[in-house]
Amino acid sequence: MKAGRPAFDPVLLLAAPALAYMAVVFALPVLVLILRSFGTPTGPSITAYVSFLSDGFNWRVIGNTLRIAALTSLLCLALGYPTAVALARSKGAVQALLLVAIILPLSVGVIVKAFAWQIVLRRDGVVAAFMVMTGIWDQPQLLLFTESGLVIGAANVFLPFMILPIYSVLKLVDPNLQDAAATLGAPPLYRFFKLALPMAMPGIISGTAIVFSLAASMYVIPTLLIGDRFQTLATLTARAFLLMRNEQLGSTTATVLLVLAVSIVMLSSWAVKAKGDSR
């Protein structure tokens, strides 16, 4: 950045409606929620957090949340990155078809998908049959109501949010870069790690940030795929508000989730960028 105060750019006013909208329907209520988590009949205090964090069960809930979000992001990245590369390299009708295939599932609601997954994740479902056929499993297992099943289902919903940001970055990259590296004597793996990956990194960061945040805060998917036995911060928040009518617990878990998700996303993208710059 240049030194000195940049002059105000009137174009920024274009963001004003969205900012005002977000302030009213998002920032304000979230602020109220956060404040409520500190409220006690005797004035502001952090007792809610102290008691929340002193319960071992809640730590397991935090662990569940982060683990599921991380695994879902990883699965989406593993499936999404190659897809984004293929999408960026394809042309014309093939590309249009791929895009439709990626975006169309978004228009199918989660409830519909959940019933579809029940077919796939059953003991006699497609996934179990595949695992037995490839010899990874000795016998068919039930994937429904397991963490693996939850990750598979969540990744299915969030995959487009990984593919599209990576694709939008890759399509702007000069396709000659890989060729240029090859003519300089760089073998394929070197080209991947020193060129393809750094080029895709902005897309990978935003895709992962989106999927991680979505997966950390999802409520409907775990409710449908795994049920009450398995709690995350999001399902716990919902229980606190809807079932237990405990507003303070609800706002506490919601705030913990918010802080965790935001800080993990920001820290990891900062770490990746710092690593990129130190080369």
Binding site: T183, L184, G185, P187, K194, L195
Partner: protein, 359 residues
């Protein structure tokens, strides 16, 4: 190996995309240290041939030999063929110096050697002062020099340049052409340049390969191509020319008489009487006025339509019977103005003869 051996020897390279044949069995031999240009119109297959030589594209048929070894199936990164791309293809996330160091690092050269090599090649292209700058903000000319330094730093056996000047404005292009020629001479690297700009090819090359529709029509020195074009295409693509179509008549003592719209003209050669032929002459070989009596010549009468002053030379446009005749002189002939009729003549030795198009 003899000094005359071919460094690059392409034999019968062919390539089709779907049902369109882009290269139809191309042969190309380039000597060690030589600068050869592939000159041809857009879409004639120049880039395709270049990519095949670099291993970036698989040919359907033919072989590529480099320095005596068959490299037809060798992957690009093991070929030792450097390329400067039309878009320069600089790595946008790296600095100027890191771009130049990329290949050296990829080949795991010792670190202290890399630093010295990068500095040497940046100096060679006069970019030493910009070493730590990101490549994003560089001007077109600077980017091109980074691309050249980056390609040369890994010491390839052969350097390929794909229209490296097309992104530069005319003035800069001319200085960069001469600059680059000096740099490449200094390094002594064998180079193949792709261009559709005949002047660029004439200025830079030891030899020029004139390409048309996936085939090399002629591979010769710039002078050879200009004075002895082997095909009408080579004639038309390099330099200006006067072209007069006609029908072959009788051949006497190796001189053919051709019936043209401008009357009977003569050229050295022999064709079956009645077959269509094309006569041609370079504009600067034509003189305004009667031919000297002792030299066998052709002469026609034509009307002056236009005078175009071009600084060091003057273009006189004549017309006669639907044929345009361009004459190049170094000053405007006194007393000649548009509308006037004049006699034009040129030597028999300057008259080129090609097979004509069958109507």
């Amino acid at each position: 190996m003899s000094a005359d051996a071919l460094l690059l020897d392409v034999r019968g390279a062919s390539k089709a995309f779907g049902s369109t044949t882009v290269l139809a069995g191309v042969d190309l031999g380039v000597h060690r240290g030589e600068f050869v240009s592939l000159l041809g119109p857009s879409g004639c297959g120049k880039t395709t041939l270049l990519r095949i030589v670099a291993g970036l594209l698989g040919a359907d048929g033919g072989t590529v030999r480099l320095d005596g070894a068959d490299i037809t199936g060798v992957p690009t990164h093991k070929r030792g063929v450097g390329v400067v791309f039309q878009s320069y293809a600089l790595f946008p996330h790296l600095s100027v110096a890191d771009n130049v160091a990329f290949g050296l690092r990829a080949q795991r050269r010792p670190a202290d050697g890399i630093k010295a090599t990068v500095a040497r090649f940046l100096d060679l292209v006069h970019l030493g002062a910009l070493a730590d700058r990101p490549v994003r903000g560089l001007s077109g000319g600077q980017q091109q020099r980074v691309a050249v330094a980056r390609a040369l730093a890994v010491a390839p056996k052969l350097l390929l340049l794909d229209e490296p000047f097309s992104a530069l404005d005319r003035k800069l292009r001319e200085t960069m052409q001469i600059d680059l020629r000096h740099i490449l001479r200094e390094v002594g690297i064998t180079t193949v340049l792709v261009t559709h700009d005949q002047e660029e090819a004439l200025v830079m090359s030891d030899r020029i390969a004139v390409m048309s529709k996936g085939a090399i029509e002629q591979l010769d020195t710039p002078e050879g191509i200009y004075t002895r074009p082997r095909t009408p295409f080579a004639l038309g693509f390099v330099g200006h020319s006067i072209r007069i179509a006609g029908k072959a008549g009788q051949t006497t003592d190796g001189v053919l008489t051709v019936d043209t719209a401008l009357g009977p003209l003569r050229a050295k050669g022999s064709y079956l009487p009645g077959s269509p032929v094309l006569l041609a002459v370079r504009p600067e070989r034509v003189v305004v006025g009667a031919p000297p009596p002792d030299v066998p010549s052709n002469a026609v009468t034509a009307a002056l339509t236009d005078i175009v002053f071009q600084g060091s030379k003057v273009h006189l446009h004549f017309a006669a019977a639907d044929v345009t005749l361009l004459v190049e002189t170094n000053r405007i002939p006194p007393g000649l103005s548009p509308g006037a009729t004049a006699s034009l003549s040129w030597g028999l030795a300057d008259t080129m003869l090609f097979p004509g198009e069958t109507a």
